[in-house]
């Protein structure tokens, strides 16, 4: 029984980490159709922001949940203003530009922090479930991921900002004709997406530590989740994370962590073969 609970918790934490990894990318890609190849480095920057702030005496929770998203959000706004804005609608050019940005960020962070691992210990200690022990922080992350999805849904569904961004997403020209300013919406969206990535990077730092090149460990999973999820930002991410996270964890428990990764990739390939538009391209099409 306790083994079953611990298995469920592990699946939950795998899903939560996929949600956190991909939510920022989903917002930027889903709303703006901009493929941000520097997404992994945005996460990395969030991790460094949190760790640096913490090492300078900032409270750990503030460092992870405020400093990290703010830093990366502001960075994202600057990047949008200087680079992305000039490349809207030019998919290949944005990919190239953000790829260059990712290399520059890795280089810059390496120069500043050195090519070594930095890290902080996970807070909250541990708790026991029957004969097993698990980190309380993992459970906290599950809660945060769920909270992000719910808040995101509430904002998109019930607020004026949500309405405007949904309108701009569906038809930018019509939204502009009705008096919105698409470029302001895009700028805000990019900053919010970046801030979400920063938050995720900060929250994941205590578990995995950060190195300048850690983005490459994140970005593949983030893209696979977003593409498998399809057009709907929140429900797509949630469903794809649930499916892939569960498959990954079950295969890891049954075999090894290598086969867990293989199972995740195979599942994504099969899924995209059957549903080329992603899960929400076929089902839940009216979801957010």
């Amino acid at each position: 029984m306790d083994y079953f609970v611990i298995l469920l918790l592990q699946i939950g934490s795998a899903i939560a980490s996929l949600v956190l990894l991909s939510i920022g990318l989903a917002v930027i890609f889903g709303m703006m159709r901009v493929i941000n190849l520097a997404h992994g480095e945005f996460l990395m920057l969030g991790g460094y922001a949190a760790i640096t702030a913490y090492n300078h005496g900032v409270n750990l929770w503030l460092a992870m949940m405020l400093v990290a998203p703010l830093t990366v959000g502001i960075f994202g706004a600057v990047v949008e203003r200087l680079v992305i804005r000039h490349l809207y609608g030019r998919l290949i050019d944005t990919m190239l530009a953000t790829w260059g940005l990712s290399l520059a960020m890795i280089g810059f962070v390496t120069v500043v922090f050195g090519n070594t691992v930095s890290g902080i210990s996970a807070p909250l200690g541990s708790l026991s479930i029957g004969a097993y022990r698990t980190g309380a922080y993992e459970i906290f992350l599950i809660g945060i991921a769920a909270l992000l999805l719910v808040v995101g849904w509430l904002v998109l569904r019930f607020t004026r900002h949500g309405l405007i961004s949904r309108g701009t997403m569906q038809n930018p020209a019509m939204a502009a004709a009705l008096g919105t300013n698409p470029s302001a919406v895009y700028a805000a969206t990019f900053a919010v997406g970046s801030a979400l990535s920063g938050l995720a990077g900060g929250l994941l730092a205590p578990l995995s530590g950060v190195v300048p090149t850690i983005g490459s460990a994140y970005i593949a999973k983030a893209f696979i989740t977003v593409i498998s999820g399809g057009a709907a930002i929140l429900s797509g991410t949630a469903i794809a994370s649930t499916l892939l996270g569960a498959i990954n964890t079950l295969a890891t428990f049954a075999f090894t962590s290598v086969l867990g990764e293989v199972a995740l990739l195979v599942a994504a390939v099969v899924l995209l073969r059957l549903l080329p538009q992603g899960i929400t391209g076929r089902f839940f099409r009216r979801a957010l």
């Binding site: 210990s121 996970a122 980190g135 578990l207 995995s208 190195v211």
Partner: protein, 408 residues
């Protein structure tokens, strides 16, 4: 007082030093110096090891030079930084052997980098010292391997922790030849000692998520965990293990937990038991002096076996050159084979003529508050694994790395 001319002169000298790179001494005349090369990664993922190896190599070279040099000449150390990139290893080894015509090359950190330059240096008749602990089995008369191998460390570590904690072992190891071979040795020694390995899991070097593993280990209920995890990403295992409170529940021993002690916190690593050919906590005057210099002058926070054996390696070579009275490669090799020995911070290390590996002292230590405390010392351990497959006395022309067949 600084006038303009003096300022100009020192600026020019500074520029010249910059242009030739750090550590290169150019003000000596060519006939007064003998060149040697160090090839260590001081940037990229392995820099944490490379930097301290360069520091100890520099220290040893300075010591030899200060005591009058070798054969009446000063040693000039040329350091190459291959940036954790194997291609640059072959490029720099070729450059060192052909352009600089160095007397000896010290270097290589991973086994992959060693196997990239070992055949090359043999072809160019350039003597090679590899000073890293590794999986064993290299059989080549042109190379001297001064680091420890699993038969020296794992053989002592496994029975020690089994006696202390119990017989059931769960092994987690890095997924490349070092981890695979070490895991086999762990299994062999665990069984020889009347115990068992309940499960062995391998992890590619970029894995950072160990959540499922932490739970799988709990489900298997071992008496102890044996870790041969390697590199930056795998440090997250120790963090996640401690975050789940498991470091207080199931004890852990490791053949690789070295510099990780600097990055993890005492709450995360206290109580881990390791075995190496060198530990910073060795309580001898020679080691205390060594550690003081390296911490102070070179600002290296923590010394590992790799860097200390680099220091031993350079001294072993220098003593052999003195004994041979020549830089001739064969004469130096023969001097080293004649039981060359150096007593230094790691204790006494002696070259085994049959295998060109080190007979060395093995130390079992416990991590306590960012330091390793020596629990037990096993003096003069033979490299029994390589000895089982390699005999350079009988077959001096051998040139390969044996994959040692571990019978379990």
């Amino acid at each position: 007082m600084i006038n303009r001319r003096k300022l100009f002169r020192s600026a020019a000298a500074g520029a010249a030093t910059l242009a030739t790179g750090p550590f290169v001494i150019r003000d000596l005349h060519a006939q007064d110096v003998m060149k040697i090369a160090g090839i260590h990664d001081t940037s990229g993922g392995l820099d944490i090891y490379g930097k301290q190896m360069v520091a100890t190599l520099d220290l040893a070279v300075n010591e030899v030079n200060d005591s009058g040099g070798l054969l009446g000449r000063k040693i000039q150390l040329i350091n190459y930084d291959p940036q954790s990139n194997i291609q640059l290893y072959t490029q720099y080894a070729t450059e060192a052997a052909t352009k600089d015509k160095v007397a000896v090359v010290h270097g290589g950190i991973t086994s992959a980098s060693r196997e990239a330059i070992r055949p090359l240096l043999k072809r160019f008749n350039t003597l090679y010292f590899y000073n890293t602990l590794y999986e064993g089995g290299v059989c080549d008369r042109n190379i001297f391997c001064t680091g420890s191998t699993p038969a020296q460390t794992v053989e002592k570590l496994v029975p020690y922790v089994q006696k202390k904690w119990g017989k059931k072992v769960y092994t987690i190891a890095a997924d490349y030849n070092y981890g695979q071979i070490t895991a086999k040795w762990v299994k062999k020694y665990a069984q020889d000692n009347g115990g068992e390995v309940v499960q062995t899991d391998f992890f590619p070097l970029d894995v950072t998520d160990f959540g499922p593993t932490v739970k799988k280990i709990q489900a298997a209920k071992p008496d102890l965990v044996m870790s041969a995890l390697v590199g930056a990403a795998h440090i997250s295992f120790y963090r996640q293990w401690a975050a789940a409170g498991m470091n207080k529940q199931i004890p852990l021993a490791s053949t690789t937990f070295g510099n990780e002690i600097v990055i993890t916190s005492p709450e995360e690593h206290n109580g881990y038991i390791v075995a190496f050919g060198y530990l910073e906590g060795i309580d001898t005057p020679a080691n205390k002096k060594f550690v003081e210099i390296v911490h102070g002058k070179y600002a290296i926070p923590h010394m590992t076996e790799l860097a200390t054996m680099t220091y031993h390696g350079l001294h072993l070579w220098a003593d052999a050159v003195k004994k041979a009275g020549s830089l001739d490669r064969m004469k130096v090799i023969e001097a080293l084979e004649a039981g060359a020995s150096y007593d230094g911070p790691a204790g006494k290390t002696t070259i085994d003529a049959k295998t060109h590996h080190d007979i060395l002292d093995v130390y079992i230590g416990e991590a306590r508050d960012k330091k390793f405390v020596v629990l037990e010392k096993f003096p003069q351990q033979q490299p029994a694994d390589t000895q089982a497959v390699c005999d350079l006395k009988k077959n001096p022309n051998e040139n390969k790395q044996y994959v040692i067949d571990v019978k379990t």
